[in-house]
C-alpha cells in the first residue's frame, strides 16, 4: 500500500521490540466476538484508477465552465485570481494544523491576524474571530452570543434572511427549546414587501437578525434600526450572504450592528457544491469575551520581537468545557487564507469594482427581463446583484428549460416561499457577460411565449 511505508523486516523488528509475535495481538483488548468483522467495500483503486473514476464521476455533473451561471442565493460565481489557489496549494499551509505551538506556526497565525483585521475593515466593527464554519452557522452563533450578552431568549429574524440560515438557526435554538419569531413578507402588485424585523422587537428580545442585502437582493436603508433595537435593550445582528457587497455598501458597523456575520464564499473560495467556505464574524470590543471561535492576538517573544498567538482561550471548550461560549474548536483556517489572499490582491479598488460590476450587470439584466411580457421584477430597488422575478411558468420547469440551453436560471423561490411558486431569484457577478445575459433573456422570452 503506497501510503504506508513500513517494510516487512522493519515490521518484524518493531514487533520484537514490543514483545509480540503478531500485530493482531495488539488488538486483543477488543472483545473477541466483535473483533475483525467482515468489511465490504468496493475494490481498492490505484491512483491511476482513482483518477479515472473520479473524472468520470465529475463528468456526470455540468459545471460552470460549461454553463452560464445566474444562480446565487448565498453562493456567487465570482472570479478567483490564480494566485489564491497557488498559495492555498502550499503544503506548509494546508497540511498544518491549528497553531498550538506558536513558535512553529507563525505563518498561519500571522495570516489569521491579517484575516481578522480585514474582516474588521469590511464589517466596520472592532474585533473579529478567525472564522467559523459558514454564513449560516455564524448567524446561529451570533444569536447564541446575543442571548448570552443580554440574558434574554427571544429572537426576531427577518423573513428575508436566507431560508437556510433560518433553518440552521432553528436547529441550533431547538437544542435550547426555543423558536425564533419571524417577520413575514407579502407579494403585492407593485413588488415584494418585507416586513422590517425591528418592528417586532420588545423588552424580552435578545436580538434582531437582518440580512443586507436581503435574500431577495434588496438593499435597505437601515437608518434608525439599531437605535430601535437598542432602545428595547436588544442587539442588532446584520448578516451578509454576499460578501462582495461589502466592497460598495455601507458596512454593518456603520448601520450600528452589534454583531456582523457574513458568508465568506465570495472572497476567493471555489463554489464546490456548497462548501467548504468560511463564516465571518465581528463585533464590538466590549463583547469580545463572548465571541466564539479561535482568536489570534499580537504579542512579543522573550526578546521583544513581534509574534502572534491564539488568545482569549478562556472562552473556549478545551478550557471551559460545558461553560464555553461554543463547542466550536476549529476555524475554517485555510478558507480564511483564501479570503486574505483574495482581499490582498483586489485591494479597495478591486473589491469596489467587483461589487459595482456585479450590480451594474444585475441592473441591466433586470431591466431587460422586466421588459419581457409575462415577467415581473418584484425585488424593490435598489437591489445589489440579485433580484426576484415572477415569471409565467413554475420555476422548476423554467430552470430545466434554461439548463437545456446552457443557463442556470436562478434559484427556485417556491422551495422556501410557497407564495412565490413562479419565482426565480437571479444573480449576476462581474463574470456575467453581456452575451450570457442577452442569451438568458432570450431563453426566458421563449419560455414565456410557450406558457
Amino acid at each position: 500500500m503506497g501510503f504506508i511505508p513500513i517494510s516487512e523486516s522493519e515490521r518484524r523488528e518493531m514487533l520484537a521490540r514490543i514483545g509480540v509475535a503478531d500485530s493482531r495481538a495488539l488488538f486483543e483488548v477488543i472483545p473477541e466476538a466483535v473483533r475483525f468483522p467482515s468489511l465490504t467495500l468496493p475494490e481498492r483503486l490505484t491512483e491511476i484508477e482513482a483518477l479515472a473514476h473520479l473524472r468520470a464521476l465529475a463528468s456526470e455533473n455540468r459545471d460552470l465552465t460549461q454553463l452560464a451561471c445566474f444562480v446565487g442565493a448565498g453562493v456567487y460565481n465570482h472570479y478567483v485570481p490564480s494566485a489564491v489557489d497557488a498559495i492555498l496549494s502550499r503544503g506548509e499551509f494546508y497540511t498544518a494544523y491549528t497553531p498550538y505551538q506558536a513558535e512553529m506556526s507563525q505563518g498561519t497565525l500571522q495570516y489569521m491576524f491579517e484575516f481578522q483585521s480585514l474582516v474588521c475593515e469590511l464589517t466596520g466593527l472592532d474585533v473579529a474571530n478567525a472564522s467559523v464554519y459558514d454564513g449560516s452557522t455564524a448567524t446561529a452563533e451570533a444569536v447564541l452570543m446575543a442571548q448570552r450578552l443580554t440574558g434574554r431568549e427571544r429572537v426576531v429574524v427577518s423573513g428575508a434572511l436566507h431560508p437556510e440560515y433560518r433553518e440552521v438557526l432553528c436547529t441550533y435554538l431547538e437544542g435550547l427549546g426555543l423558536t425564533p419569531v419571524e417577520a413575514g413578507l407579502e407579494l403585492r402588485s407593485d413588488g415584494l414587501d418585507v416586513r422590517p424585523a425591528e418592528e417586532l422587537v420588545d423588552e424580552k428580545t435578545a436580538c434582531v437578525v437582518i440580512q443586507q442585502p436581503d435574500f431577495f437582493g434588496q438593499v435597505r436603508d437601515l437608518s434608525g434600526v439599531a437605535e430601535r433595537c437598542h432602545a428595547a435593550g436588544a442587539l442588532l445582528i446584520i448578516a451578509v450572504a454576499e460578501a462582495a457587497s461589502l466592497g460598495l455598501l455601507k458596512s454593518p458597523g456603520e448601520w450600528g450592528a452589534d454583531i456582523a456575520v457574513a458568508e465568506g464564499q465570495s472572497l476567493g473560495m471555489p463554489i464546490a457544491f456548497g462548501g467548504p467556505y468560511a463564516g465571518l464574524m465581528a463585533t464590538r470590543s466590549d463583547y469580545v469575551r463572548q465571541l466564539p471561535g479561535r482568536i489570534v492576538g499580537e504579542t512579543v517573544d522573550a526578546t521583544g520581537k513581534r509574534g502572534f498567538v491564539l488568545t482569549l482561550q478562556a472562552r473556549e471548550q478545551h478550557i471551559r468545557r460545558e461553560k464555553a461560549t461554543s463547542n466550536i474548536c476549529t476555524s475554517q483556517t485555510l478558507l480564511a487564507l483564501a479570503a486574505t489572499v483574495y482581499l490582498a490582491l483586489l485591494g479597495p479598488r478591486g473589491l469596489r469594482a467587483v461589487a459595482q460590476r456585479s450590480h451594474d450587470n444585475a441592473v441591466y439584466l433586470a431591466d431587460r427581463i422586466a421588459a419581457l411580457p409575462g415577467y415581473r421584477v418584484v425585488t424593490r430597488r435598489p437591489f445589489f446583484n440579485e433580484f426576484a422575478v415572477i415569471g409565467p411558468a413554475p420555476a422548476p420547469a423554467v430552470r430545466e428549460q434554461a439548463l437545456a440551453a446552457g443557463y442556470l436560471a436562478g434559484y427556485d423561490l417556491g422551495r422556501s416561499y410557497p407564495a412565490l411558486a413562479n419565482g426565480l431569484l437571479l444573480a449576476c457577478t462581474e463574470l456575467s457577460s453581456r452575451a450570457q445575459m442577452d442569451g438568458l433573456v432570450e431563453v426566458l422570452r421563449q419560455v414565456g411565449r410557450a406558457a
Binding site: L39, A128, G297, E400
Partner: protein, 486 residues
C-alpha cells in the same frame, strides 16, 4: 526576519488584480447606502505572492516532517486528493443547480454515506456537519429528538468521562443538557462502579470516545453500553480515534447508537491549518428518522436526489450539503484503500504507537501500563521534579525539528504528553523522534535551563501569551490612504 503585515506592505495606488472593461452602463447606488471608506491594503500581485510564500516558510506541516499531535491523527494527505477536488466537475458546481445536472456529485455523496455506514457498522449517515464538534452537536440533537419523541423529556443528563475532549461537555450544554463527569479507574477505563451510580431515568446519553483519549480501548465497553441502554440512555460515540480501529471493530457492534467521524483525522482530508474539516454522523435504525435534512437519496429510477421529507428530522445543520470539497477527498481516500487497506491503516497505526511507547516508557512515566491503540499518553512528572515542565519539553522538541505532541491533555494525566504517530511514518522517523525525546530527558537532568528556555533555533523565542490575553491586540491599525476614497 519579521514579515511585515499586509497593512505595512500597503502603498497607495498599488493593485494586484484588474477587471476587464464593463459591457453595460454603470448604475450608481444611492449615496445613503454606500460606504465612503474601504480601508483595505494596496499591494501588487508579486508582493502578495512573496508575502504569503514567506509566511508559509514560518510554518511547520505534515509535508515538512513528523507531527505527532495526539488525538489529531496527522497522517499523510495524499496529493491525488487535491487534484480530484479541483476538477471543475466538483469545484465549479453550484449547490442550487437542478438535480439532473449534479448526478455525479450526489452519487459520490450517496456512496460515501454507504461506505461510512459499512465501516462503522451503522445503517445511515449524514454528511452535513462541518467538523467533528459540529458532528457532535448533530449527534446530540438526534439523541434529544429521540427522547422527546418518546415523551421522555426528563432525560436531561449526559454522562461524560473525565478524560473526554472539551467539545463533549460543551456540545451537551449547547443541546440544553446537564453534564455529569465520570471518573477514570486505575487501568484507564471509565470507572464502572461510579458510572452505575449515575444511571437512572434522567440519563439521556453517555458520550464516549473509544479508544479513549489515553489511547486505551475501554475494556468494559460492552458492559457499559448495556448498562446505559438498560437505563434507557443512548451511547454517543466520539469518533476522534476511529483511525485505531478501522476494520478491527465496528463501533455499532460495541453498542454505540450514533458516532461522528472526523474525515480530517481518519480519512486524510487536510487539516488546513485548523479547518476545514468534516464531521459525518452515522446512526442505527433508532436515530435514523431524526437525521438532518436534506438527505442524499437514491430514487426508484436509479437517479440521485436531495430529500427533505422526513417529518421527525432535527432540521438542517448548515447551509447546503456539507463540506463537499472535503468529502470528495475522503471518498477518494477510502476508494484507494478498500477494506484491506483500511485494516492495514489501523494495524500499522497501532503498531507504530506501541513501538514508540516501548522506546519511551523507560525514560518518561507511563501512567497506564497497557498495550495502547493508536496513541499513548506519557507524564512529564518525573521531569517536573527537576523543575522542567512538559511545556518546556514540548518547546525543546521544536529545536530537534519535530512538532511537539499534544500537551496537558487529557486533563487527568499530570503534565500529559500525548503522542500519536499514525501509520504514515517510517521506522526511521519514529526512531529519530524517540532519540530526541530521550536526549531531552537527559538534558533535563544535566542542563535544565537549556530546556526551560527553548526553543533556540526558531526565528522567535517563546511568546508572551499572558500579555496577549491581558492587553488584546486583535487587528492591525491601517494608516488610511487617500486613494481609497475613489
Amino acid at each position: 526576519m519579521t514579515e511585515p503585515l499586509l497593512s505595512e506592505l500597503s502603498r497607495p495606488g498599488r493593485e494586484g488584480h484588474e477587471l476587464p472593461c464593463g459591457e453595460v452602463p454603470s448604475d450608481a447606488l444611492p449615496e445613503a447606502l454606500t460606504r465612503a471608506r474601504l480601508p483595505l491594503p494596496e499591494v501588487g500581485e508579486l508582493d502578495v505572492v512573496r508575502h504569503f510564500t514567506r509566511l508559509s516558510q514560518k510554518n511547520y506541516a505534515i509535508d515538512l516532517g513528523f507531527y505527532p499531535l495526539g488525538s489529531c491523527t496527522m497522517k499523510y494527505n495524499p496529493k491525488i486528493n487535491e487534484v480530484v477536488a479541483r476538477l471543475p466537475g466538483f469545484a465549479a458546481i453550484h449547490p442550487y443547480q437542478p438535480e439532473s445536472s449534479i448526478q455525479g456529485a450526489l452519487k459520490l455523496l450517496y456512496e460515501l454515506q454507504a461506505m461510512l455506514a459499512e465501516i462503522t457498522g451503522f445503517t445511515a449517515a449524514t454528511l452535513q456537519p462541518a467538523a467533528g464538534a459540529h458532528g457532535e452537536l448533530c449527534g446530540m440533537l438526534l439523541i434529544r429528538a429521540y427522547h422527546q419523541k418518546r415523551g421522555e423529556r426528563q432525560r436531561t443528563r449526559v454522562l461524560i468521562p473525565d478524560s473526554a475532549h472539551g467539545t463533549n461537555p460543551a456540545t451537551a450544554a449547547m443541546c440544553g443538557f446537564t453534564t455529569v463527569s465520570v471518573p477514570t479507574d486505575e487501568r484507564g477505563n471509565v470507572d464502572m462502579r461510579r458510572l452505575r451510580e449515575h444511571l437512572d431515568d434522567t440519563v439521556a446519553a453517555m458520550m464516549l470516545t473509544n479508544p479513549n483519549t489515553l489511547g486505551l480501548f475501554e475494556e468494559h465497553v460492552l458492559e457499559m453500553a448495556e448498562a446505559v441502554h438498560r437505563a434507557g440512555g443512548l451511547m454517543y460515540g466520539d469518533g476522534a480515534n476511529l483511525n485505531a480501529i478501522l476494520g478491527a471493530v465496528k463501533p455499532a457492534h460495541v453498542g454505540f447508537d450514533v458516532l461522528h467521524i472526523n474525515t480530517h483525522k481518519t480519512f486524510s482530508t487536510p487539516h488546513g491549518g485548523g479547518g476545514p474539516g468534516a464531521g459525518p454522523v452515522v446512526v442505527g435504525e433508532a436515530l435514523e428518522p431524526f437525521l438532518p435534512t436534506p438527505r442524499v437519496v437514491r430514487r426508484a429510477d436509479g437517479s440521485y436526489g436531495l430529500d427533505s421529507s422526513y417529518p421527525d428530522s432535527i432540521g438542517r445543520m448548515r447551509e447546503f450539503y456539507g463540506h463537499f470539497g472535503v468529502l470528495v477527498r475522503a471518498y477518494t481516500y477510502i476508494r484507494m484503500h478498500g477494506a484491506e487497506g483500511l485494516r492495514q491503516i489501523s494495524d500499522v497505526a497501532v503498531l507504530n504507537a506501541n513501538y514508540l511507547r516501548v522506546l519511551l516508557q523507560a525514560v518518561y512515566d507511563l501512567p497506564y501500563q497497557r498495550t495502547c491503540m493508536h496513541e499513548f499518553v506519557l507524564s512529564g512528572r518525573r521531569q517536573k521534579q527537576q523543575g522542567v515542565r512538559t511545556l518546556d519539553i514540548a518547546k525543546r522538541l521544536i529545536d530537534y525539528g519535530f512538532y511537539p505532541p499534544t500537551v496537558y491533555f487529557p486533563l487527568i494525566v499530570e503534565e500529559a504528553i500525548m503522542i500519536e504517530p499514525t501509520e504514515s511514518e517510517t521506522k526511521d522517523t519514529l526512531d529519530a523522534f524517540a532519540r530526541a525525546m530521550i536526549e531531552i530527558a537527559r538534558e533535563v537532568e544535566q542542563d535544565p535551563e537549556l530546556v526551560r528556555t527553548a526553543p533556540h533555533t526558531r526565528e522567535l523565542h517563546r511568546l508572551d501569551e499572558v500579555r496577549a490575553a491581558r492587553k488584546p491586540v486583535l487587528r492591525w491599525t491601517l494608516n488610511e490612504a487617500p486613494a481609497n476614497a475613489t
